[in-house]
């Protein structure tokens, strides 16, 4: 009776129904005036130059990577905090707390290393600093 997959299945169902129903209801209710300008990219009222498929600077990669690491960290810590109390009662403090501390510790070392290496510092490019590039 108390199959934990029921709750997960219900959650999946709800997470599908809510966005779909919102899309359907708003599609039914909203007036539809398709215009060329509406589907265009908004860029402060101007026509965008070029598309988004450009080579991004490699330095964004480190920032993105750090972000992903901490995002996953949050995802893992959250359920851990929920079962923490029960876990301590069942398995004892050391078994529950220490692995998480080790996990966070590894991440902190990684962050300190990245920080020291200047991953969160933007390395100025020579090209942008070149004098005489002013168009006017």
């Amino acid at each position: 009776m108390s199959n934990p997959w029921i709750a997960i299945g219900a959650l999946t169902l709800v997470s599908i129904i809510i966005p779909v129903s919102m899309t359907v209801v708003s599609a039914l209710l909203r007036p539809s005036v398709p215009e060329q300008g509406k589907t265009a990219v908004y860029e402060s009222g101007e026509v965008p130059t070029g598309d988004t498929r450009i080579r991004f600077n490699i330095q964004y990669y480190m920032v993105a990577l750090l972000f992903v690491v901490f995002d996953i960290e949050t995802v893992l810590i959250f359920p851990w905090t929920v079962i923490y109390r029960d876990g301590v009662q069942q398995f004892g403090m050391a078994q529950v707390l220490v692995p998480m501390l080790v996990f966070i510790g590894v991440l902190v070392v990684g962050l300190a290393w990245a920080w020291r290496n200047g991953a969160v510092q933007w390395v100025a490019s020579d090209r942008a600093n070149e004098p005489g590039q002013t168009a006017d």
Partner: protein
């Protein structure tokens, strides 16, 4: 369809049901109630009205009480657009695009006379005669500008209409958008330029007498002129740079205030108004005549960097070609514009076509060729909260750094010069200065015109009126600096809650005082040639008391600003040593006002070229040596204190002024007709810097040429110097610290 329900609310649901079943009618009522009660405004500012619009959102008026108060920066999240101000040809297609990108159903509030008919700028060659030429408008709020109460009323009315399911039966007039190729007449211009014969240039000047400078300039001088403000030398069009180099390096004229271009019946003329940063009363003009059939003269850009934009403007509006100019393109008008509107043969009725296409990335080609990393071209503006109006920055980014930035202006070019040329000196010009720098700085601007016209026509101003002028002008300066501070905090902190609201609160106090005095909150029209419009409001004691109360509270409030802003560590990290503008560079760009004083240039016309009552009062010129964004903010905050000192002394003087001496205006003829060919360039210290007017009379009651030297125009030119190679957030902070107002940049 339900009765009284407009077709624009049509949805799939309603189409499916066809007629109007009862349940749908009820549901419509519910939907309309929802739409009216929760309106998301687009954060969209164009011109003067946007200042009152901001006050409507802010403390005291608080539009949020009506469920309509949270402005959204993106049109994707907004369903109401308030159109606050004049729409000009270059901006119209952009506004249409922003409107198109809002989701349905969307509503438009036209704010101010300009959105009804073009308002006071209806006659302008570049002005769209009302917002309905471009987008449909649901409700018009008349006024110039409407008070915040009027806007609140307009929005309440709109909500009422939406709740009833009715909208105004307005049809959209599509705005013509076409692509045009390169202008055909470029070749023609080139051909004419080749044919120039300098011997044929007509000179009318007697150059027998020789002053000190003439010896220096030697053979470069071919004539002399006497302007009301200064001597002027006539110089051959191919020797401009030599003459200006001599004047700058040998004679010390390091400040090119302004370049005026004009067309006479027999020739074109560019006038370089030069003065010294150390002593602005030392002025000299350099007049460069060119032939009518091929107006080409040498560019002054290598001598004074500021001449770059000034000459582009001269080319754009008058049609003089400058040899050796780095980028001689139109600056205020769209590139496809035909003709030069301030030249004599321009046809006002000529229809014009404006293009709407993407901008080229200036670095793209050479980047592709040599390096393997791409730069990204981003448009910042014309509809962007950080540009303080309709400014467009063509920004090329290299990662987080600004590789190239170029300001594209002209989105608010309202033909102010043309309109002033079509108005009489005596009364018709005075309302327009209020609309140049519309951040409540009206009286400072009016004073610029008043000073020029009074000096031109030898009009005296009674001392009593001078004191009133001084006091009200300084009140305007406080209001203007408060907005500069509030919006700068908005740029740096992204904080729409505390500092911006505090600044608006203090502006409200100043605006109330000014309204008591002048009868208007923003567009005062209070100065008259020879004095002011009327005396202080009765009972005088009460009026003085309100000012004294304000001054008494001010130190405490400034303390609060310092706590919130300048002593904040994050603010200091963002502002100290960013946007550095070296004094020498600032001078070559003709920077003035708080921008120059933040770079340690001790230049303030109130002290250096005294007018009004300033030289009788005890106050200091503030300078800061930092040259960075932080220094410019500090200068403004301290200038508020100095202004307060001036106002306090003025109030004391006015309170004790003997009743029989309270003359507010001198005797001025009903129609003013200065002598023909009188020329004058006069400037005052506006809120943003040196605000100058050049006027030439032709013996009629209207000026033959009216040229505005806008401080923001010159200050904005320094932006690439401050932001090239810096990070994007520093670009935004630098732009904010320049405190530009587009009404004055574009005029």
């Amino acid at each position: 369809m339900g009765e009284g329900v407009d077709a624009r609310f049509n949805s799939k649901l309603r189409e499916a049901f066809g007629s109007s079943p009862f349940i749908l009618t009820k549901f419509d009522q519910f939907m309309n109630w929802v739409r009216g009660s929760s309106m998301f405004m687009l954060q969209f500012g164009i011109a003067c009205c946007s200042i009152e619009m901001m006050h409507t959102y802010a403390v005291k008026h608080d539009l949020d009480r009506f469920g309509a108060g949270v402005p959204r920066a993106s049109p994707r999240q907004a369903d109401v657009i308030i159109v606050p101000g004049t729409i000009v040809s270059k901006f119209a297609p952009r506004m249409k695009r922003v409107y198109d990108q809002m989701p349905e159903p969307k509503f438009v509030v036209g704010m101010g006379s300009c959105t009804i008919s073009g308002g006071p700028f209806q006659e302008g060659y570049n002005v769209i005669k009302g917002a309905e030429e471009v987008i449909p408008v649901d409700i018009h709020v008349p006024g110039c500008p409407p008070r915040p109460e009027a806007l609140v009323y307009g929005i309440a009315k709109l909500q009422e209409r939406i709740a009833n399911g009715e909208t105004s039966p307005v049809t959209v007039k599509p705005y013509e958008l076409e692509q045009f190729s390169e202008l055909d007449d470029d070749e023609l211009v080139q051909h004419l330029a080749d044919r120039i014969d300098e011997e044929e240039l007509v000179m009318r000047y007697d150059w027998a007498e020789s002053p000190v400078l003439e010896a220096l300039l030697g053979d470069h001088v071919i004539g002399r002129e006497r302007h009301r403000n200064a001597e002027a030398f006539v110089v051959r069009p191919d020797e401009v740079q030599d003459a200006l180099f001599l004047l700058r390096d040998e004679a010390g004229f390091d400040h090119c205030s302004c370049v005026t271009a004009q067309e006479y019946e027999d020739r074109y003329e560019s006038i370089y108004h030069l003065r010294k940063y150390d002593d602005p009363t030392q002025e000299v003009g350099v007049v460069v005549p060119t032939a009518t059939d091929a107006p080409v003269s040498e560019s002054a850009e290598p001598v004074y960097r500021t001449a770059d934009w000034h000459e582009r403007e001269a080319y754009d509006l008058v049609g003089i070609d400058y040899d050796d100019h780095p980028q001689l393109e139109r600056i205020l008008l769209p590139e496809t514009w035909q003709g030069h509107p301030l030249s004599l043969d321009y046809d006002q009725e000529q229809p014009q076509v404006v293009t709407f296409s993407e901008h080229a990335n200036p670095l793209n080609e050479d980047q592709r060729a040599e390096a393997d990393s791409d730069t990204m071209f981003v448009n910042i503006g014309p509809h962007h909260p950080a540009t303080h109006g309709v400014l467009h920055l063509k920004t090329t980014l290299d990662g987080e750094q600004v590789a190239d930035v170029e300001s594209d202006i002209g989105y608010l070019h309202r033909c102010e010069e043309q309109i002033c040329q079509n108005s009489t000196y005596r009364h018709q010009i005075m309302p327009y200065p209020d609309r140049w720098d519309y951040i409540s700085a009206g009286i400072l601007n009016e004073w610029a015109y008043a000073r020029a016209a009074e000096d031109m026509a030898d009009i005296d101003v009674p001392e009593y009126a001078q004191v009133i002028r001084t006091m009200s002008a300084e009140l305007c300066r406080i209001a203007s600096h408060m907005l500069a501070l509030g919006t700068f905090a908005l740029d740096v902190y992204g904080d729409f809650t505390a500092i911006f609201m505090y600044a608006t609160r203090d502006r409200e106090v100043v605006q109330n005082i000014l309204e008591d005095l002048t009868g208007q909150r923003l567009m005062f029209n209070y100065l008259r040639l020879g004095g002011v419009a009327w005396d202080l409001p009765e009972p005088r004691e009460e009026f003085f008391e309100s000012i004294r109360d304000f001054l008494e509270d001010l130190p405490e409030k400034l303390e609060e600003y310092h706590d919130l802003v300048t002593s904040n560590e994050i603010f200091q990290m963002r502002c100290v040593d960013t946007g550095v503008l070296e004094p020498e560079i600032a001078k070559s760009y003709g920077a003035t006002g708080p921008v120059a004083r933040g770079s340690g240039i001790d230049y303030d016309l109130r002290r250096d070229d005294p007018y009004g009552y300033y030289d009788e009062l005890d106050w200091d010129v503030i300078t800061e040596e930092g040259c960075d964004n932080y220094a410019r903010v500090l200068v403004r905050l301290q200038e508020v204190e100095e202004s307060a000192k001036i106002i306090e002394q003025c109030v004391d003087l006015l309170a004790e002024w003997p009743e029989e001496d309270r003359t507010i205006q001198s005797n001025v003829p009903r129609t003013l007709k200065p002598d023909p060919d009188t020329e004058i360039y006069r400037s005052v210290e506006g809120a943003k810097g040196e605000l100058g007017i050049y006027m030439r009379s032709d013996g009629t009651e209207k000026p033959a040429r009216f040229k505005i030297r806008s401080p923001c125009f010159s200050n904005l030119q320094t932006l690439p110097e401050m932001s090239q190679g810096e990070y994007i957030p520093d670009l935004i902070a630098s732009l904010g610290s320049l405190d530009i107002v587009l009404g004055e940049v574009d005029r």
